[in-house]
Symmetry: C2
Subunit: 185 residues, 2 copies
């Protein structure tokens, strides 16, 4: 079984016109992805943001729930948020995990892209031994091409029975982790 | 294939001391559950709230994204939010679907409860013909006992490989709909 960590990327990501932007932190992204990551046994959750004030905001959210009065009131939230780390860049994320060569970077994308791996194939790979895996999720309209190009694997997008494919990143992350890491039924 | 709709219940739900309370509307619950419902082909999404001002708030959120400038900017959000309806009670929800006897009410609960149906069993049932199904999700610490007792089925909780089971309602709804309604891989 391989170690799995996740990262939520705020830069470089795309906006609605496919231009590269930096997105703002969403409070519930911090909570929801931490809770999903903790549920599915992910080791670390990196919030990737280049702006120091935004990283400090994440730090304050995490501190409120891990040390503040809310940590006493809702201890299970403390348990989830304690896995959150803030980092200024993808390079810093890789460095925190021992370097880019020490890990595999998998990305998810709602857009149609080549070099696909189905979620079933990815699940089977995680069950084997291998390098720790960092799964990156993009905010905004998705990860920039530079991130996609540098990934070791591109996971097939989650699709329902309709042609609509605009899940929130909170929903998409939850479903991907469930497909990859849920115990056999 | 049966029709599936979802409902997000703000009353009667439990708080951390297992007392019955009314919870406040969370903006991203409106968005995320609508987007997940639309992705998985759910027919309707009921936001159940007894307080008129809170229903009006939901109405304003929906209106902003279905008629405001944001409807032009992000049309896929319009498509999702247009399935949102506000109702003052569960009784009003049942009435909107043709009456309690015309539907089956399924609930989800993170707590351990009797009368379980696994998600695989529930998925198989949805593939058959039958009454429309309304799946209810609770806010706060989950649905009150009166709702649980009156349900036709209680879906087994989503579990990861850890003992931690505190997914957000946004994540839990996404995973449940994926398990029940995703196309066969």
């Amino acid at each position: 079984m391989r170690d799995v960590s996740i990262g939520l990327v705020h830069y470089p990501v795309l906006d609605g016109r496919r231009e590269i932007v930096t997105t703002a932190v969403t409070n519930l992204d911090v909570h929801d992805l931490a809770r999903s990551a903790r549920t599915y046994g992910c080791r670390r959750y990196f919030v990737v943001h280049p702006i120091e004030a935004q990283r400090q905001l994440v730090g304050r959210i995490v501190d409120h729930w891990t040390h503040g009065s809310s940590a006493k009131r809702i201890p299970d939230r403390k348990e989830a948020l304690s896995i959150v780390e803030t980092v200024p860049s993808l390079e810093a994320t890789y460095a925190a995990m021992g370097g880019r060569d020490a890990i595999e970077v998998w990305i998810t994308a709602a857009r149609d892209l080549d070099r696909r791996r189905t979620l079933a194939e990815a699940r089977a790979e995680l069950a084997q031994d291998g390098k720790p895996v960092l799964i990156l999720f993009g905010t905004g309209w998705g990860l920039a091409a530079s991130v996609v190009d540098a990934a070791d694997a591109i996971l097939a997008p989650v699709r329902g029975p309709t042609s609509y494919n605009h899940l929130s990143v909170r929903a998409a992350c939850a479903i991907v982790l469930d497909r990859l890491l849920a115990p056999e039924a």
